[in-house]
């Protein structure tokens, strides 16, 4: 059987099994095992590739970020962040929809997980929005859209996976994700202000109230400072920063703010211990799938096809990748997509002489967009279920919001200097800069 046929068979089987209801990890493994049966690759080699996919030090960060998110929500300390968001933007036209966006910008910097964000925001603000008369469809749409910020800003788990698999600086991806992440956040706020429901008008919070809300939320707000501060100063790797953040919650936040929750910590650990295994077993399976794609030269064939159209133009290459990832992201989740297509991404990054961090941020933003597009917009789907509205209605309400995402992705493609400005200032090595051997400062690629 020819290589394209084997690849086609693997893909069809994966999608067929996956959409039938087989877990993603097992669908991927089944597709790879059956595909490998038609090649010289042995089955023990496939099992080895599955193992190798998860045996990465960088991936160790994932359980800690998930643990931080689980502890933050389970210990119910998020109400303080809600109050802070309300004090900051509750008076602006759009009311609670503005609060949703600002809340997500805060919480994303603690959890790094879009699914955590959507569950927590739905829990914290879904009810109040309903009471204030926001349509359930709009509520689900804005919560889902705001939750995708977690895929971009640190400590994004998607960025951790991308960095670990693609050998790209995770700290660089974190920093470069800040501009597009906040662009989506502020874009959503502008959208809510102009086009969203007016909501209930509240008086502007007095400075004293804002200061009080900040003080109340100060302990949880230390988490992004620990995470970013530790990574940026070079004290910690992302994994270690995750551990320190978890210790901060366990030793300081929960005992200070919700002492009664301490006896429930064993349960939190058991649940977080289960949850972290789910993306990681999928990463292992996707690694074997991606390896087969590379082994059968599938990545090279697609890369050659893209470069035959786009040449070496980095913008055109990225636009085609965005198109490809938008289509793929509509059917498959971000993590397996990244791992399966990393050989292709690497080939095109080299072909277009694109900064790997820039390519990473553009693709992560695209995959975040895929979380609210049909037919498989996981985050929109979760939001619609949590809010209690039909997916099709939430989808219609989300359609105009797509402009914010498309604008951000286009901006990220065409203005790499803006996107890479922050990592260049903070961690120059992460974007390919090196120390000037004959003077102070760094020499950076153009």
């Amino acid at each position: 059987m020819s290589a394209p046929l084997i690849l086609g068979l693997m893909t069809v089987l994966f999608l067929f099994f996956g959409y039938l209801g087989v877990p993603v990890a097992f669908s991927l493994m089944a597709g790879v095992f059956i595909g490998a049966a038609f090649t010289d690759v042995t089955f023990p080699a496939i099992v080895q590739k599955i193992f190798d996919g998860m045996d990465s030090e960088a991936l160790l960060a994932i359980p800690f970020f998930l643990l931080v998110g689980e502890l933050m929500s389970s210990a119910n300390v998020v109400s303080r962040i809600t109050n802070l968001s309300l004090a900051l933007v509750g008076h602006i036209r759009g009311g609670l929809s503005q609060v949703v966006t600002v809340f997500s910008m805060f919480f994303s910097e603690m959890s790094g997980s879009t699914t955590a964000d959507v569950a927590v925001i739905s829990r914290a603000l879904g009810g109040p929005m309903k009471k204030e008369g926001y349509s359930p469809a709009f509520t689900a749409a804005i919560i889902a859209a705001a939750s995708t910020i977690a895929a971009l800003v640190p400590p994004s788990i998607t960025a951790v996976v991308y960095g670990a698999v693609g050998n790209v600086s995770i700290a660089g991806l974190f920093m470069a994700g800040v501009v597009p992440g906040f662009m989506i956040g502020f874009g959503l706020m502008i959208y809510c202000y102009i086009f969203g429901p007016a909501g209930m008008r509240r008086p502007r919070a007095a400075f004293r109230d804002v200061a009080h809300a900040f003080k109340d939320a100060s302990l949880p707000l230390m988490i992004p400072i620990i995470l970013l501060g530790g990574i940026l100063t070079g004290w910690f790797t992302p994994t270690e920063a995750g551990v320190v953040a978890a210790i901060w919650i366990l030793a300081v936040v929960i005992p200070s703010l919700n002492r009664a929750h301490i006896r429930l910590l064993p349960y939190d650990f058991c649940i977080a211990g289960l949850i972290f295994s789910l993306p990681l077993i999928t990463i292992g399976a996707a690694n074997a799938f991606g390896w087969m794609l590379a082994y059968l030269r599938g990545a090279i064939v697609i890369a050659e096809w893209i470069t035959s159209i786009a040449g070496n133009d980095p913008h055109l290459i990225m636009l085609m990748m965005v198109l490809l990832f938008t289509i793929i992201g509509d059917f498959i989740e971000p993590v397996p997509t990244i791992i399966i297509f990393m050989p292709l991404v690497n080939a095109l990054t080299v072909a277009g002489d694109i900064n790997p961090v820039h390519m990473g941020v553009v693709l992560i933003a695209t995959l975040a967009f895929g979380l609210i597009t049909p037919p498989y917009g996981l985050v929109l789907l979760m939001a619609s279920k949590f809010i209690g509205v039909r997916f099709s209605q939430a989808l219609r309400a989300a359609l105009p919001i797509y402009v914010v995402f498309l604008g951000t992705i286009a901006f990220a493609i065409y203005f790499p200097k803006v996107v890479l400005w922050l990592p260049k200032q903070v961690i120059p090595e992460s974007v390919g800069c090196f120390k000037n051997p004959s003077g102070p400062g760094y020499i950076c690629p153009p």
Partner: protein
């Protein structure tokens, strides 16, 4: 009721009770506790790794212990998630079917998982045997100690899949579930089965 009993009761998932044998409930609870212990274990070893490095006396073996906890955590978690139906799903067309089509779809799903599980057992075992000739540094422990997680997880996945297959064929897969309050009962980072798109 003691805290440990309360914890055990809370850890046992009530969903899809008709597909489970009570005899395996203890195993599910044990594996869930093991997940927590492994996560706690590698959190602690990473913390000690940072501390000992910062004081200039690093314990090199800590990274090996961390890696062991991490790998076993993934495979044990994947195994118990099979019984709890907590895995990540693309969607579940089968959930929207009823009668014979549902039965056929559910059986196909379990057979696919079972096939993968047997591959993990057999070929994972082969890798395990091969792993005695490679060693982890600095302890010189055979890497087989890590590879053992694969056939162990494969066996547990196969066991839980057979459990679901037998119970599903006897009692039917299509069973009304008690209406759950999604926001109140779902651990926040998982996608509850009722959220999966039909």
């Amino acid at each position: 009721m003691r805290i440990s009993e309360k914890l055990a009761k809370k850890l046992l998932l009530k969903r899809q009770r008709h597909l489970k044998w009570r005899a395996f409930d203890v195993l599910e609870i044990t594996l869930m506790i093991l997940c927590g212990v492994l996560l706690f274990g590698f959190s602690t070893t990473v913390m000690f790794d940072i501390v000992t490095r910062e004081i200039g006396r690093p314990w090199l073996w800590l990274q090996e212990v961390t890696q062991t906890f991490f790998i076993y955590g993934i495979f044990i978690g994947a195994a118990v998630a099979t019984r709890r139906n907590d895995h990540l799903y693309l969607t579940a067309v089968a959930d929207a079917l009823h009668g014979i089509p549902r039965l056929v779809a559910e059986i196909v799903i379990r057979l696919v998982v079972l096939g993968v599980a047997f591959c993990l057992i057999y070929f994972g075992y082969k890798n395990f045997l091969r792993g005695f000739s490679s060693f982890r540094m600095p302890s010189l422990t055979p890497i087989a100690s890590l590879y053992a997680a694969i056939p162990i997880a494969g066996s547990l996945i196969a066991l839980f899949t057979i459990e679901q297959l037998v119970n599903g064929c006897r009692k039917g897969f299509d069973h009304p579930e008690p209406q759950e309050d999604l926001l109140a009962t779902t651990p926040i980072l998982t996608v509850p089965s009722s959220v999966r798109r039909p």
